[in-house]
Symmetry: D2
Subunit: 471 residues, 4 copies
């Protein structure tokens, strides 16, 4: 199947507490921004695994006593944002399966494998059956196969086959194993609760929600094991040159999280400051596009010494899906999602700060709305470079052809958006705002430089393509 | 997993009509008595398969336009009655899977395989994963494996592995294949609609509901293929000595169906006549236990020349699940399901005719209810022999230990049920009421004589156990 | 509003037990045949009333702990079968309202008032507002008004205004009042539970379901009061010449109920016997149309000495609503509801016995189905006279113009139905089958003789129309 | 009934367009902040009214084609936020009733009547029945009664009885009538759509969402009529001294709305500026409590010249209801709703700006959370005076005894909240931030000065209590 789900997701795991399901519930709630399509929790009581997954937000999925029914002393959880056309309940995670004559496992995965098709085809040629379109199911087939072959550490053996971005949690009846890909694409952090239980999560905001302490990142290429024996760790592969997803800082992560060594909120403020340095404008006000542009606007205003004003009011209920009649166009929808404070913008020269632009169609409608409310000049400032390339590592962008910036220069874009001036932050400027060396980040969506050869995936790390059979 | 579902189910398939989903809907509706837990339909439009399955009765599962959404020019359908403790939506059928790089198949199955554990374990030892507990999934693994091995006729190759009872329909994008096990345990019939389309169904009552003609039974060991090329047939194995499930005649099938060469209604009347010959009683009235004992009571009254009276009125809405407070006992429930016409039974000597007794607890409550209404004598007559043995071929009986007749003589049973006399039909008497030779029926639940060695299943027909690997 | 609901309904009330809600649940369950559209229970704990009503069958309406939430030591309940086009939840009963500064009352009603429009208009002219279309709401307006006027016994005063058929139960915080119209149109019986609590119900079958004893009928024109003080009774008006609804015996009531002094099942058997006497036929078999014609067929066979055979099998799941595609016609639906045992009817001369015919369209389809199955002759026998007139007292018949027998002689009807002969039971013959004097029954739907002047309703008993204001 | 619902609600009406239901949908969506408990729309096609109301947010209530089913060329809509313990579907609005023999009306109401009990009791003493607990139903009883009395303008006559706050829309089959109480408590504005249709709404933000122009406020004591004859107006009573609800500006209204002559966003910024003047503090950062304190914080920072920083991040999904296990306390819930950016607040002296404090318990938890994250000093600033008195005019505050500021001085409150200093804005300071004369606003919740005698309501304006009968 050609359209593997490319997920932005969140994972979590905790070992030990009697209310482990409730801990997962809180963590998923705090990580809700990483995926709103489905949620799921799997637990173990030491003998048997139980899982409940469903479509919708965390409180919707767990509204009828499911958590108490799950019970258990350890749990993993998963938030999912799917990009496939038709969200299917059977693709929700954690995915719980059985193999090898009664070994239960539940798996939650954040990221995207570039060799998923290759692996899946290899399995299908051996008579295996797939009933979801997730990378997660491929990982379980690897587990089952390496178990069947008698390998002593099927988890390690399985991970050797995965090429791409993944932060993955496995729940077995007697342990959690949490692994991060050798490039560290996606975040994965280790925490300890006030009452002493080990936990892992995609973001530190989940630890905060539990009142847990942030211990450290799980290292690229590391597996940590949580069990009654406590915490243990092993490397399954040498770490590679890191490729942290910079877009987590730009847009995706929670502002209060500490990610790849930086607090997200502060990175975003610095992006705004840098943007003000690179692309100043003569204007009356700096105005954030809420809520995503707020941190960068604060930085821009601080550096530019131009007054920060709020003139665009988001409809706090607009996040929910809503219907409009057939004749409604995009302008209508934008108008329902944002309200402009006419008296603030009327006759003013505005610097509008937003975090990023993908397709640009919504942005165009927003600019029109500001014009109709009387804005005299609009200077649009974007706190990252133009997005011109697809992501194969877990962020879902539309086809290149639908990206606003693909094949368009900035002045064309300004014309299209009907703004008086526009500027993106430079790639270099952006990288100056984060602490780690520039080559430790994946910037492929901006630069087109992919860390892995996405056109020639391999079925096992260290092998070339057209290699001998899978195992 | 130890508790494979042992289903009483119904299957159906039709090739050709533009409203194939609606035809399946009607057929499933007519076969609803074969399974009320879940229902499902899969269709093909020649290029892609679509399926909708759900928990509940046919009209509940297809109440929101699902059939029109399915579309398609061919369909298969499935009614399911599960015996597993927790009915799970993921076990509903038809089961639709993909294998071999894009081959879609949907499968519906009626019966029970005795070598399911053996086959499943074999697959698990090869690294395969299972996500349901159905025999159906095992069949698809066989298909996928034989396809991967390059076998020219994977359906035939797969069926060679199945040991037990099955009437199974496969839907591929370009054809339906319908197969019946070599012993003919479960019914499977071929029909032709008024507008000339070929169809298969578990019972002729489904053909009647479509206004279709009953053409013939699918033979034991036969595969019929329905496609745009019309109907074709092939044997996949030599037919064995038949083992038709006699319990279909006793209780399970629709009275209007023609099954294994006999009309069910007439068989049941003959059972009642034979019962009157074997076990007469001096009484005022013959009275059926509705609705299951009605046909046999008619035969009993006809032969005994004792007046038939109706004195027990079923609550027509009691089939639905209903709740009662904790303190309610079985008597309470029976009282809500049956009403006794006191004026009819008061002071009378009654011959109560029923089709069979399984656990006997409900029967006991019914007898008590008749006593309370004033019945003077109760002579209970059962139109089949005592059920003393489990079924491994698709009828779900409780554990032997919970069968009323296991380890109890008839007079003990009469005492337990608080009746003045009771009698079962003899095994020989029962077999005289059906047309085919006595050894063409499976009577294992009565006799304990199993046609196959249920303790030593094989992984492929013709092989002994502890045989070499599966393929 | 022109289309007041004309209900066939069931009512119930019990005073005293701590599980009074569960008692109502059982009673409604046993009376489910009196109304399947909605169900409701109201309870009191001595201080406050609580109610839960909903659309659907009793077990569907009370499936989520509602009964335990209701609590209370007394309850009334209601089954409703509505005839309005669009069943509305707000019309479900018991209807609970408040008036007079905090007096709560819940009311359930079976029957139909012929002066409902007159009363409602009178209220509307005084500025009252109605939010349902039920007679029940009118009754509560009467209560509230007589209370406001300071009348000492508002219940009695209110009932004086009601003209038509009603068996009504009122629940106040400290008592149940149950009243039956002065003509005794609808049944209402008094019972006592095994543990000594008083109860009222529409039919004795509800008493049986509770294990309660049938004490006596509530008399026409009587109010019985159930409270902590025990049972008391008073007349609110002189009883009129009775007008018991004979159609309850023909079709509507449960066969096991004792109604207007007769057991329903025995009445129906006598109707069949009388029919055999009046309209014999030369045939091979007597065959009931299940399930409604079964009792009469038994009587017909007994008297005619022609063999009773079962050849028409109802689909036990067909009572549920189901959808069919647009192109489906009535024949299709009938075919899904009934299956014919072809081998029984083929080449035979059949006497088909049914209880009544309303529109006749379904009957026509059934006869066609028998013909297609090979019946040689069909002699249709109906165990009541032709229905040619509307009912204004609680049975919902379609417009006169849609009644099969309106303006058609029996031979025309036979031709329309495509039967070889047909006969109805005579009015006199029918009345010979019940115990009370012939003029104690309402036979208006057959004879057109209405006990009350349905064209000139009055706003208070004893007044002529165009009378002075309501109060 | 003692606990009349005191609603914060929104109303809307539009006359003329073929898609009037969709216009109402958008307007309600834009006014969702005025009520999230239920929503409803009623339409007319000139002959008959139709309504759909339901519990939940606008997109949830209208998710299944209800709007297209409503049809119609004119509509009114209602958002409701109920304060009653148990939200009941029957209290949702618009309330549609029928009176006077077929006159349909639908009514939506924002505000609260102080003479509701008096009016309701008067009606009940006349035998009227109520089935909701809303003021709206009382208004319809008035309409029905004045119609029955033959009054020529029942709407005007009815409004003469209403004492309190109300902005109310009536939908009749041939017109909309929209009225505002003589004191102008609640907002109500008149607009015109781009295609020329007249409309009314609670807030201008609803006009913006429709692309409609804000024409003017509906005057206190004015009725505007929208119909095919265009717009007309009449006064039903002399306007009183205005009593605009100042709390709409403080908290309730949308920042982009123009309300009582001021843009809300600008009022809030001025409140923050004034607060900085009155209660400065020596600190590192001004930090808004999101989202309610953001505008005032902007003003405070601007005036104080202290840097504005964002350090508290709301969980954008926390608005939805969610469950927590029993042992969870308020701190847990706050922690899930807000995340603190530890690196920003650690070691800093913070001025936290919020709009208001009601109970204070949540505020306390938030302050604790900032402390745990390392804040060195917390100076809490509230942009309105202490709330110490109940509101009888449509804003729901808890019992006086539960208001944080009742009976507590500011330093006690600071201690309770565990902050280093705290200050409220003064009453005078607050009133300087709005444009109209100070005595044109209702400030009763702060001052305890009620414009009307809430203890002695009258049944008709101009009458004293213990007056003669209602009409």
């Amino acid at each position: 199947m050609a359209d593997h789900a490319k997920d932005k997701c969140g994972v979590f795991g905790v070992w030990g507490p009697d209310d482990s399901g409730w801990r997962a519930y809180r963590a998923l709630y705090a990580q809700q921004h990483r995926g709103q399509e489905s949620a799921g929790i799997a637990t173990t009581d030491g003998r048997v695994l139980r899982a409940h997954v469903g479509m919708g937000l965390v409180p919707q999925v767990f509204s009828n006593g499911e958590i108490d029914e799950l019970g258990g002393r350890a749990s993993i959880g998963h938030n999912r944002y799917s990009t496939t056309g038709s969200p299917m309940s059977c693709n929700a995670q954690p995915l719980m399966e059985e193999y090898g004559g009664g070994i239960q496992v539940a798996v939650g995965h954040n990221g995207n494998l570039i060799n998923a098709d290759l692996l899946r085809n290899g399995f299908e040629q051996r008579g295996h059956i797939f009933h979801t379109t997730t990378d997660t199911e491929i990982i379980i087939h690897l587990l089952a196969t390496h178990h069947a072959k008698g390998n002593l550490d099927p988890v390690v053996e399985s991970l050797h086959h995965l090429q791409g971005a993944y932060s993955v949690v496995f729940l077995f009846k007697d342990r959690i194993e949490a692994a991060r890909d050798p490039w560290g694409w996606k975040p994965l952090v280790l925490g300890k609760t006030r009452d002493g239980f080990d936990c892992v999560a995609s973001e530190t905001v989940a630890l905060d929600a539990l009142g847990a302490t942030f211990v450290r990142e799980v290292e690229p290429g590391e597996i940590v094991t949580l069990s009654d024996e406590g915490l243990s760790t092993r490397r399954f592969i040498d770490a590679q040159q890191p490729a942290h997803c910079i877009f987590e800082h730009i847009y995706f992560a929670n502002p209060s999280s500490v990610l790849f060594g930086d607090t997200v909120q502060l990175v975003r403020e610095r992006l705004g400051e840098k943007l003000a340095e690179e692309s100043p404008a003569d204007a009356d006000y700096v105005m954030p596009m809420p809520d995503s542009g707020r941190s960068a606007a604060l930085g821009y205003a601080r550096r530019s010494q131009i007054e920060l004003r709020e003139g665009i009011v988001p409809n706090r209920y607009a996040g929910r899906t809503f219907i409009l009649p057939d004749q409604a166009d995009r302008d209508d929808k934008v108008q329902l999602k944002l309200n402009v404070v006419a008296e603030v913008v009327r006759g003013k020269r505005l610097i509008i700060v937003d975090d990023s632009i993908v397709r640009g169609t919504t942005t165009r409608a927003k600019m029109d709305q500001l014009r109709r409310a009387g804005a005299k000049e609009i200077h649009l400032r974007i706190s990252c470079p133009p997005i011109r390339h697809g992501c194969y590592f877990g962020i879902d962008f539309p086809d290149k052809s639908k990206l606003l910036a693909t094949g368009r220069e900035t002045d064309e874009i300004a014309k299209f958006l009907n703004v008086d001036s526009m500027a993106y932050l430079s790639l270099e400027g952006m990288l100056e705002c984060v602490s780690r060396p520039s080559d430790h980040y994946c910037t492929a969506c901006f630069s087109g430089q992919y860390r892995l050869n996405v056109d020639k995936p391999v079925s096992k790390l260290g092998l070339e393509k057209n290699q001998p059979p899978l195992f």
